[in-house]
Symmetry: D2
Subunit: 146 residues, 4 copies
């Protein structure tokens, strides 16, 4: 079997979309969404992308003692989301390595003009759940992504 | 050895106080603290009370596979906390049973008049961390509280 | 016009249901949902109930300077929710007064047996958004509920 | 008066430090701090830095209708923080412009070796609180930083 190696984005898969409704809990006294909360929405979209591919993080953790941890985020906030908005959060796997994935993610307002609110790049590494140290993805999982 | 049994509050220990500063993250678009967040402050005060008694929840979990989970909260919100306020959160153990503790907790604004913001009663049960089922507290721990 | 007055529950309306998916952000190191977060889900269900009735909290705030603030919560935690669970959060208006509403709310796991996880009673008061003091609901709004 | 202009970091001021204790609320089922929560700690340190300089964000908002909103974050997660850890969060103003500030921030574990957990660069822009659009800082405030 060929060694797994880094692969260019476009081969991997389409852009995944996930809607998020904004509630009281999401806002701050500025009347808009608190800046850290957008990272929650980015993660929801990545989790739902995994689920859409039939991958259960609960099973990965309990059966293979593997989890993914974010190792870097670069995010630009372009325009604020407000209470009662619906957002569309996208997730696109742009780089796959044996022990990490990099995603390009966007958050738009779910309106006719689809105003772009945030733009982010997020890298997640595969960790051994017991040692919390990096490890290669289980082979079956890596093949699934590839 | 006598059976452990429920014990009246006053014998147990004094009212513990813990200060909490309010940041952007704590507020919502109403300009005041989001109602669920007060439960965080109540927990911080209970955690610091344990720490003040020399009890490490991390060690309880890793060495004895024991954790405490809240089984009920009754809270009244009397006046809102605002951005940049300092709050004083109190915690008083009012009932100790072999497998649970009940706390009376208050949150005041740290000002001359000490306006009362919240009043709560919180019950926490001792759980086995693996099964997440109720169990009696480890004997050493129970004696410590008693 | 007759004075508005407290009204028994059953007349008011049916039980409203709202699904909530559990993500990483919701859990704590006990491996289950952090106790304060259930109050977020309760609020999401109440917000969606308002939306389902055609009431926009954003408009209430901007046009009438009115918002609802929770004045008391009584909640029992019966069984923990876990990562990747779907929960069904219910909301039922059980008491309507000119300046407040009381809800009975439940959270169940969305499985065949629908295990009951939380049971809560939540009271919310109508506030003037500028003074943050209690006031009667706008008449149109009160009639809508009645 | 000379036009305000971008200024190199070292002139501005020393590295500010702020301690943060990790509670249950901060962790996730991986047993470590949830990745979005570090952004809260970064903000607490920036808020405390302002307070240490005698600047009240509450007064900026109420008297001058001005607030700061984060426009970009770039953060690397090097090692996880755990329950009961104390972290030292640093904040250093590295770039000051008429309408924005850029901070270099670090999070270390408060232990003898002071392990570096996160490294971040955060840019915050001055906004008009009513329009939520960028504006120059009030002159007095800008001079204070300079």
């Amino acid at each position: 079997m060929k060694e797994p190696r880094s692969t260019p984005a476009a081969d991997l898969r389409a852009v995944f979309e996930w809607p998020v409704r904004i509630y009281y809990e999401d806002t701050d006294l500025g009347g808009v969404v608190y800046y850290a909360n957008y990272l929650r929405y980015l993660e929801r979209a990545r989790s739902e992308w995994l689920r859409a591919m039939g991958i259960s993080q609960t099973r990965l953790l309990s059966e293979q003692r593997v989890l993914f941890a974010v190792t870097s985020v670069s995010i630009r906030y372009l325009s604020p989301a407000r209470f009662e908005d619906v957002l569309i959060v996208t997730s696109e796997l742009i780089r796959l390595k044996p022990a990490s994935m990099t995603f390009s993610q966007r958050i738009r307002r779910d309106t006719a003009d689809g105003e772009l609110l945030c733009q982010a790049e997020v890298r997640a590494a595969c960790l051994d759940a017991d040692s919390m140290r990096p490890r290669g993805m289980p082979k079956g999982l890596f093949r699934e992504f590839n």
